[in-house]
Amino acid sequence: MSDGPLFHRNRDRHPKALTPDYKTSVVRSPQKALLSMPTTLSEEAGPVFGHDIIGAHDNDLIVNYAAAGEMAIGQRIIVHGRVLDENGRGVPNALIEVWQANAGGRYRHAKEGYIAPLDPNFGGCGRTITDDQGGYSFRTIKPGAYPWPNGVNDWRPAHIHFSVFGHSFGQRLITQMYFEGDPLIPLCPIVRTITDAEAVSQLVAPLDMNNTVPMDARAYHFDIVLRGRRSTMFENRIEGN
């Protein structure tokens, strides 16, 4: 594992902290400027996860909560892609955790009050670790859109939440994957916290017919990019390059 300073975050492509149309951000956004610092070992090192933590069905949300012989209800999909860094290198051994609503748009959570029913065979969480090339895949059902209390008639587009670890604590990222063609995407106050249209498009997964399994499950392709790191022979690092 090579150390090296992380590329600074280009915050123009990320949401700002204060985004009043997403109302909860108003009292949860820091009001003072973030203090800019160089990355140190504390940010460049990061937790290490082994493939042995992953259970046989952890990346299959269709069955990982279902009773024996049962399956979750919904449109069967495969989500796959690579975790890359900003240098374009695949990130191996990256832990990915996902969570989502069921096919009707309902989460399995105590604070969830949407009228759509729970699916007794769907929990809504999964995880996997990338392979040597940074590749990953999991199987699930396509989540439903759902209404949420923000504006009087706000609906979330269908989405899957992603939590991603690179090799550095400073690469830590949580984001959401949307689905190609969903008309709710441009209406969503959470999507619209990102003001750069090209950055939004980076979160929209295209349908991937080549990897679709005939008569079984459609595939969506979703690459995730984590911060890169500098490595030139001129970096003055006590631990070397």
Binding site: N10, T24, M37, S42, N64, W99, A110, C125, R127, T175
Partner: protein
Amino acid sequence: MQRLTHLHESPSQTAGPYVHIGCVPNFAGITDVYEADLGAAMVTDNTKGERITVTGTVFDGTGTPLRDAMMELWQADAQGLYPGRDGADPTFTGWGRTAGDAETGQWSMETVRPGPVPFTDGRMMAPHISIWLVARGINIGLQTRMYFPGDPMLGDDPWLTRIEHQNRVPTLIAQETTPGTFKFDIHLQGPDETIFFDV
């Protein structure tokens, strides 16, 4: 002119109100999928160093505790070595994850007091725990650090001494409420707003 070929980091989106389903499902009542929640324990009985408890609450701009946040802690072992490095304590994960109490929002983690680690120029930084905080209403994870009160290295710490507004530095220093228990409250806004870093 040639073109730079760097990719762009994927933009962040809020962790939302249901982050616990994905990251700490057992805490969220989904107990049949993973054996245990990742990051629930940082230490074992064999971990070397001074045992401590770190606890705290995150407050929004109205003074209300966040009850749907998730925090991650990352620190060196008692010798100042990050896990995975040569010589680091193999019984220490260095990484912990905690959701606040569903009623009070207070979180707590058992760990060891970390050793000092080097700054970019080789000077040593005072022992600290890096913290990453996500929640509904937080669009991109917030990064901060917790330092230890009374630590003799605080005054020369190369990170803390770079901070212009030294009157804000106490927001990064925990309080030792009982011996070995350190309280580190985070204020997202207001006069006591915690320092968050772009790092």
